[in-house]
């Protein structure tokens, strides 16, 4: 299989599935038909050449495949029969109308589906990943992932979750659900809690590509651009986040020469344009925080006061103890570790944070800087007990060795 062709098909998958889904009213039928069309394209295009309107070709072929499939199905309902008639009647026009692909991602990210189903469906229906690829990315057996997808599609069908772009009143909330799925995809790749390095990088790339498409399809929504800026600014540090052994390198210790300056510049430009709308939100604020880090020449010269203020603002949109913990770290950098520790200690017994290794790591770092080595070591050990990601685990072990060596 040729890689450029494969890429070309992947690029058109979303719009093709969206259009056929709109025509048939059935997501599964649309995916199957587009899959068939892609196989046909890979057989035909290497010798016959890629048609000028590759997307139109794929949709045309998929439409016929969908008709064939629906015809073969003995027990189809009246609705599908009507849909089939509509498809058959729409004739042989060479440039079938392409449906706005946004409807498909709003369907896959509908709040009536559970979050893991939304993520899986988006990867399958919007990004065109196979069930096996999605299962591998989330380290679950393929059968488990297949069941999750089947159940989600059954709910879409049975509960009649609509294929449509939400109206103005619903848009902020529904767009929030879409952006959250893209953000989860990215963090799954970025936080490296599971899976192999290559698969994770792939998830980050896919999340960025999705954010890019959504932002370009919704130019009037600054939060969509804010998410894209955030992902670019964060991913720009990818090469510096792990050392040669694959261990996590803290932001302060990263080799800033390895940050991708083109990505940072793009992220900043997108963020600036988004902020000009005058409608801030959580992703724009997260991106602004990431930008503060990206523009600093070193950890020490970072504008921590500004970052602490941005976190304080972020709490309005995201009132979670995690944001407060991050604010504590910024305050510690701006005003000294003691000031940060006061905020962290107030959070220590929050039920949501008790199993969050990052809180113990942050506490340990501040205690270490205050010279309270014994307490710092205890906090690192508490973090280890929560079984953090492998890269974090070796970082903690290294710190513990340093502390024990200093005794």
């Amino acid at each position: 299989m040729s890689a450029p062709l494969d890429q070309l098909i992947r690029q058109h998958w979303w719009a093709a599935v969206a259009t056929v889904c709109r025509l048939t009213g059935d997501l599964q039928a649309a995916e199957d038909a587009v899959q068939d069309a892609c196989v046909a394209a890979l057989e035909r295009w290497p010798t016959a050449g890629v048609p000028d309107n590759a997307l139109g070709w794929l949709i045309g072929v998929a439409r016929h495949k969908a008709v064939d499939r629906l015809r073969r199905e003995a027990n189809r309902g009246a609705k599908e029969a009507a849909a089939m008639r509509e498809i058959s009647d729409s004739g042989e026009d060479t440039s079938p109308r392409v449906t706005d692909p946004l409807g498909l991602i709003f369907l896959c990210c509908h709040p009536a589906l559970n979050v893991s189903a939304r993520v899986a469906l988006t990867l399958r229906s919007v990004c065109g990943l196979s069930t096996a690829e999605i299962a591998a990315a989330f380290l679950v057996p393929e059968e488990t992932m297949a069941k999750r997808l089947v159940r989600a599609k059954a709910k879409i069908r049975e509960a009649r979750i609509p294929f449509r772009i939400p109206g103005e009143a619903e848009l902020p909330e529904r767009l929030g659900a879409v952006l959250r799925v893209i953000y989860l995809l990215f963090t799954e790749g970025h936080l490296a809690s599971r899976g192999e390095a290559l698969v994770r990088a792939d998830l980050c790339d896919r999340a960025i590509a999705l954010a890019r498409r959504v932002a370009s399809l919704l130019p009037g929504e600054p939060e969509a651009a804010g998410l894209l800026a955030l992902l670019l600014l964060t991913d720009a540090r990818r090469a510096a986040r792990t050392d040669a052994l694959g261990d996590l390198v803290l932001l302060a210790d990263q080799d800033r020469g390895r940050w991708d300056q083109d990505m940072i510049a793009e992220g900043e430009a997108i963020l600036e344009a988004a902020l000009r709308h005058g409608r801030p939100g959580r992703y724009q604020l997260h991106a602004a925080i990431a930008a503060c880090h990206s523009t600093a020449a070193s950890g020490e010269s970072t504008d921590w006061r500004q970052i602490a203020l941005l976190y304080a603002e972020l709490i309005r949109y995201e009132p979670t103890p995690v944001v407060e913990a991050n604010r504590a770290v910024a305050v510690a950098m701006a005003e000294g570790p003691a000031a940060g520790l006061v905020i962290l200690d107030a959070l220590a017994h929050h039920p949501q944070l008790r199993r969050w290794a990052q809180l113990y790591i942050a506490r340990a770092e501040l205690l270490r800087r205050l010279g309270r080595d014994g307490e710092a070591a205890d906090a690192y050990r508490s973090a280890l007990e929560l079984e953090p990601a492998p890269a974090s685990r070796s970082f903690i072990s290294r710190r513990l060795r340093e502390l024990e060596g200093a005794d």
Partner: protein
């Protein structure tokens, strides 16, 4: 006096169409419903889709919170029902959010299975 009969079942979904299990259900329920109809006691009845197709709506501080699945809150109990006909789930969600139970507890939206006229 009107009564709502809540029909529980052990399996989540109805058996697949064309299976003897479903045929038996259709026949036995059909006979019971027909008798109720003949006696003039029946107002409406229908099977419900699988629990996994349920959506729960809560309204808190004016915000509609939509979650997948039936309510997991054990303090809540069934207190009434409405049957509405809508184009799709989004429309049903809008109506469900207007019911006071959505603010006090929750409203579950469980699709009713349409029985084809020929069955």
């Amino acid at each position: 006096m009107k009564y709502m009969l809540l029909l529980n079942r052990t399996a989540d979904a109805l058996p697949a169409p064309g299976t003897p299990e479903l045929d038996r259900i259709i026949q036995e329920y059909g006979a019971a419903v027909e008798a109720m109809g003949r006696a003039g006691v029946l107002i409406d009845c229908a099977p419900l889709a699988a629990r996994s197709s349920t959506t729960t709506v809560r309204v808190r501080e004016g915000e509609t919170i939509v979650t997948d699945g039936p309510s997991a809150e054990i303090k809540e109990q069934l207190g009434g029902y409405s049957i509405i006909e809508c184009a799709d789930l989004d429309e049903a969600l809008k109506w469900a959010a207007t019911i006071p139970a959505a603010r006090d507890a929750s409203v579950e939206i469980r699709p009713i299975v349409a029985i084809p006229a020929s069955a």
